[in-house]
C-alpha cells in the first residue's frame, strides 16, 4: 500500500445489526480516531427491522480510508462494509425539505425555479412554500443557492444515501 498524502472522498455503506448503541459505536469510532464525517444517514432496511444500513461520506488519504473500513468491519454488530466509491458505479442521493418565505415577485420566481429543478411543493401558505427535493448533493446545493435571495428560511437535509448500480448487492 502506498503512503500517498492525496485526499479522496469515500462513500461507505455499512450493514449493521439494528441494536441499541450501534450508531453510537460508529460515530464514536469516527470521533475517537479523528476521522471526518461529511454525511451520515441511517435507517432500518429489512422487513423485520433487524438490520440497518448506514451510509457514511468521509474523506482522507487512501491509507486512512482503508483504516476506516477495517475499523468499521471489526465492530461486533457490523455485517458488511462496502466502499461504494471504490467498487464501481453507484448512485448517491439526498432529500431536502426547503422552506422559502416571501411574497410577490420573489415568491413566483421561487416557484418557477423549483419547477425547473423538479422540486415538489409539499406545503404552501400565503407567504411560504416548503419544497421537497431529491437529487445529488450538488444539485441540491445549486437549488439552495438560487433560493437564498428569494427568501430561503430553513433547510432540512437527510444526508446522502447510496447504492451500487447494476445487479450487485452489498
Amino acid at each position: 500500500m502506498s503512503a500517498s498524502t492525496e485526499q479522496r472522498s469515500a462513500t461507505i455503506s455499512v450493514l449493521v445489526e439494528n441494536e441499541a448503541g450501534v450508531l453510537a459505536r460508529v460515530i464514536g469510532l469516527f470521533s475517537g480516531r479523528g476521522y471526518n464525517i461529511d454525511s451520515l444517514t441511517v435507517a432500518p432496511v429489512e422487513a423485520d427491522g433487524r438490520r440497518s444500513r448506514i451510509t457514511i461520506v468521509t474523506s482522507g488519504t487512501e491509507m486512512v480510508i482503508e483504516q476506516i473500513k477495517a475499523q468499521l468491519d471489526r465492530l461486533v454488530p457490523i455485517h458488511k462494509v462496502s466502499d461504494l466509491s471504490q467498487e464501481g458505479p453507484y448512485l448517491a442521493r439526498e432529500l431536502a425539505l426547503i422552506k422559502v418565505v416571501g411574497t410577490g415577485e420573489k415568491r413566483i420566481e421561487a416557484l418557477r425555479i423549483a419547477d425547473a429543478f423538479r422540486a415538489r411543493v409539499v406545503d404552501a401558505s400565503i407567504e411560504s412554500f416548503v419544497f421537497e427535493m431529491t437529487g445529488a448533493t450538488d444539485k441540491l446545493d445549486a437549488f439552495l443557492e438560487l433560493m437564498r435571495p428569494l427568501g430561503l428560511a430553513e433547510v432540512s437535509r437527510t444526508g446522502i444515501v447510496a447504492i451500487a448500480r447494476g445487479p450487485k448487492t452489498i
Binding site: M1, A3, E17, G21, A24, M63, D73, R74, V76, H79
Partner: protein, 593 residues
C-alpha cells in the same frame, strides 16, 4: 437444565459463566450486584476473589487471562464500581487481553433517572471495550453472556462489558446453551490467504537481510504459536526480535534472538530493523514505541505483516504483503510453504547479515557497571540480573509482572524470558499500578509458582491496597521494588528533554515499605547496598507468603539504550561510556510522548 427452564437472572448468569469455563471471578460487591453476590454465596463452582479496588479486579483478571490463555472474569457494581474498572478495561483493550466484566446497573425502570450509583456504563465503556452489552430483557440474558465470552476470546481478544440491571438479576430468566451456530456478524478470519503466504515466502526466500519481528499476537494465539515461531526461525536461520508484549514467544538467550526492539530495545534489534531488506511482522502492530520516527522506519525493507486484526495492517506503516490470520495458522502455513518452495535462500548474504548483527551485538548495549565493594549503591540492572540468576538457580516456574516505568524496561531487558505467558506487563496503556493486582491474578491461577511483581516505588503505590487481597487469600506474591525515590522514567525524560528540571517527579514522603508489608500481614525486606542484595533476594524467594523487597537503587540511573521520541532506529542513545550514535531530541520529537 432444559432449554425452557426458568431461574432468577443471577443464577442464569452464574450458570452461563460456568458453562463458559469460568473458575475464578475477581470482584467487589455493591448494591446493584447484591443478587449476583447472593447467588455466588449459594454455589461452589466459581471462586470469588475479593479485591480492594475495582481497577485491581480487572488487572487481576488480566494477569489470570494472560498466564492461562483463558478469559478473565470480573464482577463489579454500578456507578463507581464500573467507572473504577475503566482503566483496567482500556488496559486490556490496548493489550488485547480477553476479559468479561459484569457490571451491576440500577433497575431498568430507573435507567436514565440519575439514580443512586447510576452511571451510563455502556456509554462510558464503549470506547474502553471491544464490545459491551446492556441486558434489558431477561430472555436475552444467557445468550448475551455466552456471546460476550465468544467476542472476548475470538479474533483479536479484548475486554467485554455486560451491564446487568438489578431487576434483570432478580427476575426469572430462561436458560439457553451457548449457540453452536456462527455469530451473526462477528466472524474473524483466522486462516491466512494462500496467495498472501506465497507472496510472503517469495520475499523471504529472496531476502538478503531478513528480520522476524513478533508481538503479543503470537502469545495470544497460544503456546503452539510460540513453538511454531521457534521452528520457523530455526528453519530459516533468520534473526528474531520481540516486542514488549511478545517477550517469551522466542526464548531469550538463543543465538538467533536479538532481544526486545523499540524505544528501549537492544542496539542489534533496532539496527537490524532499520537495515533489513525483508521484515516479517507477526502479531505486532507497528506501535510508536517500536517504530520511532515513522518516515525513517526501516526505509529499505519490503514488509510482510500478519495480524488477526485487519485494522492493524497498514495503519501506521504501509506494508507490501498483508496477511490476515491467527499467528499459529500463519506460522503453520509459512513453515509448510517454506518447505514446499525449492528456492534456496541466499546463504552467503545471510551469513554476511549475521556478521553485521554480531558486530552490533559486540557493542553490548545492556552493559552496566556495578561497583561490588560492600556498601556500594545498587544498580537497578544489577538487582534484576541477580533476581534472574537466583530464580534460575532455584528452577521454579516463575512469572513476572511489572508496573510501568524504568523498572519495567529494565525487567524487559534483563530478565530472559524462555516461555510465553510468563510475562505480564501493561504495554499499550502503560498503567502504573498494574503489576501488583496482575500478580495476584497470576498467583490465583498458578498457586505453586513463583510470582514476582517487578515494581517501582511510585507505581506500586497506585494499587498498594491489594496487599490486603494478598493477605486474605495467602497469595505469596513477591513485590520486588526498585526504589529510586523517583518516578524514574519521568525523571529520565526531564533530565534528557527538560533541562533536568525534576518537576514533581520526586517520590516524597514514601512509606516505610517494611512496615507497610508488616501492616498487611506480610514480610518486608530491604537492601540498601550491593552486599545485602543476594541475601534479600534469597530470603524473599524462600518466604512462603507475600513479601515486599525494598531494593534501594541508584536514583540517577537512566534506562538505555533509548530511541528519543521523534528519532529513528539508527539514532539511538546508548548508555554512559558507550559511543553515541544518536542525535539530540528535536522540537518535533518534544511533542511526542
Amino acid at each position: 437444565m432444559t432449554a425452557d427452564a426458568m431461574a432468577p437472572g443471577a443464577e442464569i448468569v452464574l450458570r452461563a459463566l460456568k458453562a463458559q469455563g469460568v473458575e475464578v471471578i475477581f470482584g467487589y460487591p455493591g448494591g446493584a450486584v447484591l443478587p449476583l453476590y447472593d447467588a455466588l454465596f449459594q454455589q461452589n463452582h466459581i471462586r470469588h476473589i475479593l479485591v480492594r479496588h475495582e481497577q485491581a479486579a480487572v488487572h487481576a483478571a488480566e494477569g489470570y487471562a494472560r498466564s492461562t490463555g483463558k478469559v478473565g472474569c470480573v464482577l463489579v457494581t454500578s456507578g463507581p464500581g464500573a467507572t473504577n474498572a475503566v482503566t483496567g478495561l482500556v488496559d486490556a483493550l490496548m493489550d488485547s487481553i480477553p476479559i468479561v466484566c459484569l457490571t451491576g446497573q440500577v433497575p431498568t425502570h430507573l435507567i436514565g433517572n440519575d439514580a443512586f450509583q447510576e452511571a451510563d456504563t455502556t456509554g462510558i465503556t464503549r470506547p474502553a471495550t471491544k464490545h459491551n452489552y446492556l441486558v434489558k430483557r431477561s430472555e436475552d440474558l444467557a445468550r448475551t453472556v455466552h456471546e460476550a465470552f465468544y467476542v472476548a476470546r475470538s479474533g483479536r481478544p479484548g475486554p467485554v462489558v455486560i451491564d446487568l440491571p438489578k431487576d434483570i438479576q432478580i427476575n426469572p430468566a430462561p436458560w439457553t446453551e451457548a449457540p453452536e451456530t456462527p455469530h451473526r456478524s462477528y466472524r474473524p478470519q483466522t486462516e491466512p490467504d494462500a496467495g498472501a503466504i506465497g507472496q510472503a515466502i517469495a520475499l523471504l526466500k529472496g531476502a538478503r537481510r531478513p528480520v522476524v519481528y513478533t508481538g503479543g499476537g503470537v502469545i495470544n494465539s497460544g503456546p503452539e504459536a510460540s513453538a511454531l515461531l521457534v521452528e520457523f526461525v530455526r528453519m530459516t536461520g533468520f534473526p528474531c526480535t520481540n516486542t514488549l508484549m511478545g517477550l517469551g514467544a522466542y526464548p531469550a538467550g538463543d543465538p538467533q534472538f536479538l532481544g526486545m526492539l523499540g524505544m528501549h530495545g537492544t542496539y542489534e534489534a533496532n539496527l537490524a530493523m532499520h537495515g533489513c531488506d525483508v521484515m516479517l511482522n507477526i502479531g505486532a502492530r507497528f506501535d510508536d514505541r517500536v517504530t520511532g520516527r515513522l518516515n525513517a522506519f526501516s526505509p529499505d525493507s519490503r514488509k510482510i505483516h500478519a495480524d488477526i486484526d485487519p485494522s492493524s495492517i497498514n495503519k501506521n506503516v504501509p506494508v507490501d504483503v498483508p496477511i490476515v490470520g491467527d499467528a499459529a495458522a500463519v506460522l503453520r502455513a509459512l513453515i509448510a510453504a517454506w518447505k514446499a518452495d525449492k528456492t534456496k535462500p541466499d546463504a552467503r548474504a545471510l551469513a554476511q547479515w549475521w556478521k553485521q548483527i554480531d558486530a552490533w551485538r559486540a557493542v553490548d548495549c545492556l552493559k552496566f557497571t556495578q561497583d561490588t565493594k560492600p556498601g556500594s549503591i545498587i544498580k537497578p540492572q544489577y538487582a534484576l540480573r541477580r533476581l534472574y540468576e537466583i530464580t534460575r538457580e532455584l528452577g521454579r516456574e516463575t512469572f513476572i509482572t511489572t508496573e510501568v516505568g524504568q523498572h519495567q524496561m529494565w525487567a524487559a531487558q534483563y530478565l530472559g524470558f524462555q516461555k510465553p505467558n510468563h510475562w505480564m506487563t501493561s504495554g499499550g496503556l502503560g498503567t502504573m499500578g498494574y503489576g501488583l493486582p496482575a500478580a495476584m491474578g497470576v498467583q490465583i491461577a498458578h498457586p505453586d509458582a513463583l510470582v514476582v511483581d517487578v515494581a517501582g516505588e511510585a507505581s506500586t503505590l497506585m494499587n498498594i491496597q491489594e496487599l490486603g487481597t494478598l493477605a486474605q487469600y495467602r497469595l505469596p506474591v513477591k513485590v520486588f521494588i526498585l526504589n529510586n525515590e523517583y518516578m524514574g522514567m519521568v525523571r529520565q525524560w526531564q533530565e534528557l528533554l527538560h533541562g533536568s528540571r525534576y518537576s514533581e517527579s520526586y517520590s516524597a514522603a514514601l512509606p516505610d515499605f517494611i512496615k507497610l508489608a508488616e501492616a498487611f500481614h506480610g514480610k518486608g525486606l530491604r537492601a540498601t547496598s550491593v552486599d545485602q542484595l543476594d541475601a534479600v533476594i534469597r530470603e524473599m524467594l524462600a518466604t512462603d507468603g507475600p513479601v515486599i523487597a525494598d531494593i534501594c537503587v541508584d536514583p540517577k540511573e537512566n534506562c538505555f539504550p533509548m530511541i528519543p521520541s521523534g528519532a529513528a532506529h539508527n539514532e539511538m542513545l546508548l548508555g554512559p561510556g558507550q559511543a553515541r550514535s544518536g542525535a539530540a531530541v528535536t522540537d518535533a520529537g518534544l511533542v511526542l510522548v
